[in-house]
Symmetry: C2
Subunit: 255 residues, 2 copies
DNA sequence: AAGTGGTCTAGACCACCGT
DNA sequence: CGGTGGTCTAGACCACTTT
């Protein structure tokens, strides 16, 4: 075949991006990620075709495809054969599938409902501010909710959000909460949760927790402390989940 | 360019494999996985070059590369630029990195040591046999060990193995246990752990557990119930880990 | 210098989807 | 039917490692 490489810049550069480094397909991935993070392409909208992106970025379709495959693995885009490539939008199903790991004793998926107990705004503690990358005393929203699975109410959650990123976040917004929170974050505030880290521990139930979850104080509970990050790797949510593991498990897959 | 497709079989077939289905690169992945599972290529040995595999399988190098990339993501092979492609061998580092998720309170990795308390062989219970895919009453090895991290001994493990797959597995073999168990499984028995599933719960410490872990009976412990599978997706190990979470956490990454 | 995997290209045809 | 992504090929050159 004809030599394509001879007409390329020597290495590590691409049109319009002086600070590019590494393989071309990774540069493409970074450029596209940045555009998604900046919201230039909104969730649910269609991207240019692979041919179009190749022309736009000045590279071959094969290279663009490699970048798109990486973005698809990170669940930032979705390809639909015969139709096109779309910016991934959080749906309740997706949020539950990727960010909800609680199952029943047979390790089958369960679908929770939500009951908001409280929602108020106040100053972050020093530790909270540090975790969220906020200045001292900046405001945060605090949500407390109970989650039910069938007849049981085995999950108690406390959620912390930087108020600056979620203006106007309040109880009325949560009342008709038919969707998952992450769907709400994206639709109402343009915040896309892309990754999360969870630290798990066993704790003894306190007075209030025992009352809400219907067990005796001191009973063992699974505590799940989550840091959730957006497309730009900013920590945008802290969440502590308490799970009564009499009838449920937290499922992790190692591969 | 020249038309390569016209000389290929119409669809879904490849030389020497009548039951092939789906894309060619996936057939290649399956064929290679099968050969690895059968032990035709031993861990640590070098595979044929990409050109060689392409000739062997009757497809282009691009297609072979796609299959190899998938195998590399599954950590079954390792590519080394300028040298070749090798069958992945479990090392202690790999085993700890992929199958050990316990960290300290700052979510930093820790390296555990091991103290075997007991190792004996006996009949499996009905439930154990079902999980391991064994017949009623088949024999299993049972190992109990304490794992230490620095001065602390926060981990108590009970491990169950089908005796048929691990003949001669006994205490003397474990005494000089400098390597991780999964390294031993692979080196001594040709069993490669490829995937695992863990169900987590909070439980109250029993008498013996409390004594071994140095806490009071009834204290909350994190219970991690693991099913480990080999390359052929057979369940080859059951493991229940009890973790004292006063100074450690189980870390999970969601992405 | 020789050989390996890593990157990138160009272009064919297939499978799927909407009109 | 026309357009999209999905698959597959052939081959060039680059970067790395060993001889």
């Amino acid at each position: 075949m004809r030599d394509g490489a001879a007409r390329r810049p020597p290495r590590g550069t691409v049109a319009g991006d002086g600070r590019a480094r590494g393989p071309l397909y990774r540069q493409a991935e970074e450029i596209l990620t940045r555009r998604l993070a900046e919201g230039l392409w909104r969730p649910g909208t269609q991207l240019p075709t692979e041919q179009g992106l190749a022309a736009l970025l000045g590279m071959s379709t094969g290279t663009v495809r490699k970048a798109l495959a990486a973005l698809e693995r990170r669940r930032l885009i979705e390809k639909r054969q015969g139709i096109g490539t779309f910016v991934a939008a959080h749906t309740s199903e997706r949020a539950l599938f990727h960010f909800f790991r609680i199952v029943d004793l047979d390790r089958r998926k369960v679908a929770p409902s939500s009951l908001v107990l409280d929602c108020r705004t106040g100053a972050a503690t020093t530790e909270e501010a540090a975790l969220l990358g906020l200045g001292a005393g900046e405001e945060v929203h605090r949500v407390k909710r109970l989650r039910t699975i069938g007849e049981a109410a085995p999950i108690l959650e406390r959620i912390l959000l930087p108020a600056a990123l979620f203006p106007g976040f309040a109880l009325p917004l949560l009342k008709p909460m038919t969707d998952e929170l992450y769907v709400l974050y994206q639709r109402e505030y343009g915040v896309t949760i892309a990754r999360a880290e969870e630290g798990l521990a066993a704790v003894a139930a306190g007075e209030e927790e025992a009352r809400l979850l219907g067990l005796v104080p001191g009973a063992p509970l699974l505590e799940i402390a989550r840091l959730a990050r957006d497309l730009s790797e900013r920590t945008v949510e802290l969440r502590v989940t308490l799970l009564d593991t009499r009838a449920h498990r937290y499922l992790a897959v190692l591969e």
